[in-house]
């Protein structure tokens, strides 16, 4: 089901022996055998079990909180409330924020007085057993006096709306002004305006948040935790009031992240209670805890106004975005920035005005989620492209062709992405791969849709991102990699191993990667923002190639040739083109060892460092580079019931260079599932801010019965800024899926549902509205 098209050989004389092959990942055998310990699988003697007491309303004043009965329960070791805490807050680290809205992300650790969202933690309980902790949870008495809340971001901007946190509900504002929008609209033959709504989304990683903390003999708080970010030791230390070197995060292979384990989850609670009780403490969220325990995807309301000529040239674009930030700031200003930059999509728009705001409400707080704002923008701009095409009577693909941003052209911020822009060929390949249309029959209508995208990889360049890795060769020729990178399931660690063994002339079974320990592995930065391969892959490559250079130099002397003539592969060192002149890698390593030649290297890779975008015009560089591609689908829609079935799902992405094609496909196919659920079935419903769908029987992600086989078309421009020209695929895999499905449904039924998820009910309502056949009235 997969084709890989490689073009433009990366460099002459480079022959990949490990990179680019669908090798069995280093983490796979342990996982399928049930041998891999996740963070929740660690236990310690004398360990306490924790639970979090949560508010059951979304907006209230805490009048009284009585934990005395819980404390009195036999087996309860500690019950902690805000009253017991030092006057500290926890912050989301947002360096480099500028602009006129507030930067303060500080928030209470436990509710002091004001409850701002459903599930906000009131108290922490640690007990000898899980049963006792569960029992104690029921004995906590909380008197909450409801305060009027605000649950809609547009309402939250109105005068007189309840204020979530003083001084106002506007959390962040961002703007792009480029060219002359007025002139552009004047030049347009047709102006198309639509408003699109995107929903909350739950990450729904299968492993709920979990961790185990203890204080060691050096008075260091150790936290074994499921996280995407071991660098959180810093905000944790700040929050509990200890020096940074007194908190150590030890990760584990993560049971799914998707951005949901990017912020702090259980760490602070664990640190507090481990220090207070002096005993190891374990906290595992229940699924219900998890639904309210980490930030969701920001719902957006996006209004697109596009000016276009009759022949399909976009002359102006005006975009207004409002994002629901929920009750606390978290990463909202960043998410908003991504949406802003992505607003026009992979299209050349010279006259552009984008105004984006993130607004506080008493809904669940929102933060990082695969696609990170750029995905919400894509959901809108790709639907808008179809609507524009319809308005001027032009083929949807043709409209796109005429407006695609091309390699070397400036994007929304005026920045020229350094890599190839292959949206066009990805779109053509994906569209063609849909093949013969499935025939419509009776009430079953068939429709097709495409989504094209631009998605950054690598963090915002004004954050001055760096990543470190250490690579060494052991005396027997095996390789060790040390890097703090977290592996959240995409094969991050295995890919680093593949890069290291490529450079060092050995094979993947000969490498061990130690990762994810903030005290002993070099800090590699977060596994977020589709940056792990780009940043840490480059760091590993640098380190491994430095070691290789020393080995090769020594081998060249042994062979009596120039270093450039020496090659390594499959544990042999040899003279290129003269494989008869060779020695085993292990022999070369022994020689180097005996002569004191340095067999290891610590390298740091630095992303481009820039200033912040111009605050008035939004012009400048935001990211290191961008990935481009497309997703196409065919759907069947039952026009009587509104049921949708995705029949075909095809992705075509330029990944730059595959490190492991099987892992790339896995990302793409998983992204297709995330995007399909987002488009069609996943829905977080709230009543006055109270989540009423906190389980997997109510929050419906696609099952094995719902997913088509996803076809992957992988293109390799070898033009990216990652190792060997790689780009990134983690987030891009998901970004274009939902609008492709929305466009296919609209194509099938002839009317658009402007709000996701596109449920059967919304489809039936849209059809009835169009046909004037009445509404879906509820009985009186």
């Amino acid at each position: 089901m997969t084709g890989i098209t490689s073009e433009a050989p990366s460099r002459p004389n480079v022959r990949f022996r490990q990179v680019g092959r669908p090798l069995t990942r280093t983490d796979a055998p342990g996982k399928v055998a049930g041998r891999t310990p996740y963070a929740g699988d660690y236990v310690m003697p004398d360990m306490l079990h924790m639970r979090v007491v949560r508010a059951d309303v979304a907006s209230a004043r805490l009048v009284r909180l009585d934990v005395s009965r819980a404390r009195a329960l036999q087996g309860v070791a500690c019950a902690l409330t805000a009253a017991d805490l030092p006057d500290r807050a926890v912050s989301t680290d947002i360096p480099g924020q500028v602009g006129r809205k507030r930067l303060d992300t500080g928030q209470q650790i436990l509710v002091r007085e004001r409850v701002r969202y459903f599930g906000e933690p009131l108290a922490l309980i640690a007990a000898e057993t899980r049963d006792v902790a569960d029992h104690a949870l029921e004995l906590v008495e909380a008197e909450l006096e409801p305060i009027p809340g605000v649950y809609d971001p547009v309402e939250a901007m109105q005068p007189g709306a309840p204020i979530v946190t003083e001084p106002d509900n506007i959390v962040a504002e961002r703007r792009i002004r480029k060219g002359d929008v007025e002139a552009g609209f004047a030049e347009a033959d047709v102006i198309v305006e639509n408003t699109f709504r995107t929903p909350f989304q739950e990450h729904a990683f299968l492993e709920p948040e979990v961790g185990l903390a203890w204080v060691d003999e050096n008075d260091v708080v150790n936290i074994r935790v499921s996280t995407q970010v071991i660098e959180h030791f810093r905000p944790i230390a700040d929050a509990i009031g200890v020096p940074h070197n007194k908190v150590r995060i030890r990760g584990a292979l993560v049971g799914g992240g998707f951005g949901g384990k990017e912020d702090l989850t259980v760490e602070i609670y664990l640190a507090l209670l481990a220090r207070r009780t002096g005993r190891p403490v374990r906290l595992e969220y229940t699924r219900e805890d998890s639904f309210v325990g980490h930030g969701k995807r920001h719902p957006f309301v996006l209004t697109y106004r596009t000016g276009v000529t009759r022949d399909g040239r976009i002359t102006a674009l005006d975009v207004r975005m409002v994002a629901d930030s929920g009750a606390y700031v978290f990463l909202s200003p960043y998410v908003l920035l991504y949406a802003l930059v992505a607003a026009p999509g992979p299209y050349r728009v010279d006259n552009l005005d984008v105004f984006a705001r993130a607004v506080a409400t008493n809904n669940m707080f929102t933060s990082a989620f695969r696609g990170f704002g750029a995905l919400q923008a894509c959901a809108a701009y790709e639907q808008q492209m179809d609507e524009v095409a319809k308005a001027i009577g032009l083929d949807r693909m043709e409209l796109r062709r005429r407006n695609f941003l091309k390699t070397g052209e400036p994007m929304s911020t005026g920045f020229v992405p350094p890599s190839a822009i292959w949206t066009d060929r990805c779109a053509e390949r994906a569209w063609a791969a849909l093949g013969e249309p499935t025939p419509a029959r009776g009430p079953i209508r068939i429709g097709r849709g495409i989504g094209c995208y631009q998605q950054s990889y690598g963090r915002l360049t004004f954050l001055h991102d760096t990543s470190e890795a250490w690579v060494g060769v052991e005396m027997d020729g095996t390789v060790v990699v040390r890097s703090g990178v977290t592996d959240i399931g995409a094969g991050q660690v295995s890919a680093l191993g593949q890069i290291a063994v490529e450079a060092l002339g050995t094979t993947l079974d000969n490498v061990v990667v130690y990762n994810s320990d903030s005290a002993v592995t070099p800090l590699a930065g977060t596994t977020t923002a589709t940056r792990a391969l780009y940043m840490t892959g480059n760091a590993v490559k640098q380190a491994a190639e430095a070691v290789r250079a020393r080995l090769v130099e020594r081998a060249a002397r042994a062979f009596g040739v120039a270093p450039d003539d020496v090659d390594m592969g499959f544990n042999e060192v040899f003279v290129a083109e003269r494989p008869d002149r060779s020695m085993p890698l292990v022999e070369l390593v022994r020689i180097c060892g005996a002569e004191g030649i340095h067999r290891s290297e610590l390298a740091m890779f630095r992303a481009p460092f820039t200033d912040f975008l111009d605050p008035e015009t939004g012009q400048g560089q935001a990211h290191p580079d961008y990935a481009y591609g497309a997703h196409a689908v065919e759907v069947a829609v039952d026009v009587d019931t509104g049921e949708v079935e995705v029949l075909k799902s095809v992705a075509a992405h330029d990944v730059g260079q595959c490190i492991n094609p099987a892992a790339v496909e896995g990302q793409i196919q998983g992204g297709a599932q995330n995007g399909q659920g987002y488009a069609l079935s996943e829905e977080m419903l709230y009543e006055e801010g109270r989540l009423i769908t906190p389980s997997f029987s109510e929050y419906l992600m696609p099952t094995a019965m719902d997913m088509p086989k996803v076809e992957c078309i992988i293109l390799e421009s070898r033009s990216g800024v990652g190792p060997y020209g790689a780009k990134g695929i983690g987030e891009p895999a998901m970004t274009p899926v939902a609008p492709a499905i929305a466009n296919a449904v609209a194509d099938a039924i002839g009317v658009r549902v402007f709000e996701m998820p596109i449920t059967p009910e919304r489809i039936v309502r849209a059809l009835k509205r169009r046909d004037g056949t009445g509404r879906l009235d509820s009985p009186a």
């Binding site: 996982k31 799914g256 599932q673 086989k709």
Partner: protein, 162 residues
């Protein structure tokens, strides 16, 4: 608690004893006695991460009371094979890239084993229907489907070769 008692669970061919109250689920009990390979994802039968075989039938261990499993043959993913001797289902999942974060995999491998036991030559429908109680957020299932088919073929070939 007065309603605790010591029971013997036969797990992966070995008898293991533990003292549990009546309300302890098989999932909790298995993890308490060290079977960390059985994963907790939802505790209400929605996700399948905790699936084990009880007398050859795949069940959600979170919906099974530990006491009622006494005397039964319980098989977890570790009972199928180990690193040096992976079961064909495990091998196919590893080599086919069907495990990403891997947290759902102990349950999915068990369900896959049960599907192949019942349908040695499973149709696509058999596989989809058999896996509909196992949620995976990473793979989109495509490689899971392929791995189940591959494993079934390997098992069939192994049988016919004997």
């Amino acid at each position: 608690m007065s309603n605790e008692r010591t029971i013997t669970l036969r797990v992966n061919g070995r008898e293991e004893r533990g003292r549990f109250p009546a309300h302890r689920t098989l999932l909790e009990a298995l993890r308490e006695i060290g079977h960390m390979e059985v994963k907790c994802g939802c505790e209400k039968g929605d996700c399948g991460a905790c699936a084990v075989l009880v007398d050859g039938m795949a069940v959600d261990s979170c919906l099974t009371l530990a006491w009622t499993a006494e005397g039964a043959e319980i098989t977890t993913v570790r009972g199928l094979g180990d690193l040096e001797s992976l079961h064909p289902v495990q091998q196919a999942f590893a080599d086919g890239g069907a495990a990403q974060c891997g947290y759902c995999i102990p349950g999915i491998v068990i369900a896959a084993k049960a599907i192949i036991d019942e349908h040695p030559e499973p149709t696509e429908d058999d596989v989809r229907l058999g896996l509909s109680g196992n949620l995976c957020r990473c793979t989109g299932y495509t490689k899971v489907f392929e791995a189940v088919s591959e494993a079934a073929a390997v098992i069939r070939a192994g049988r016919s070769g004997q």
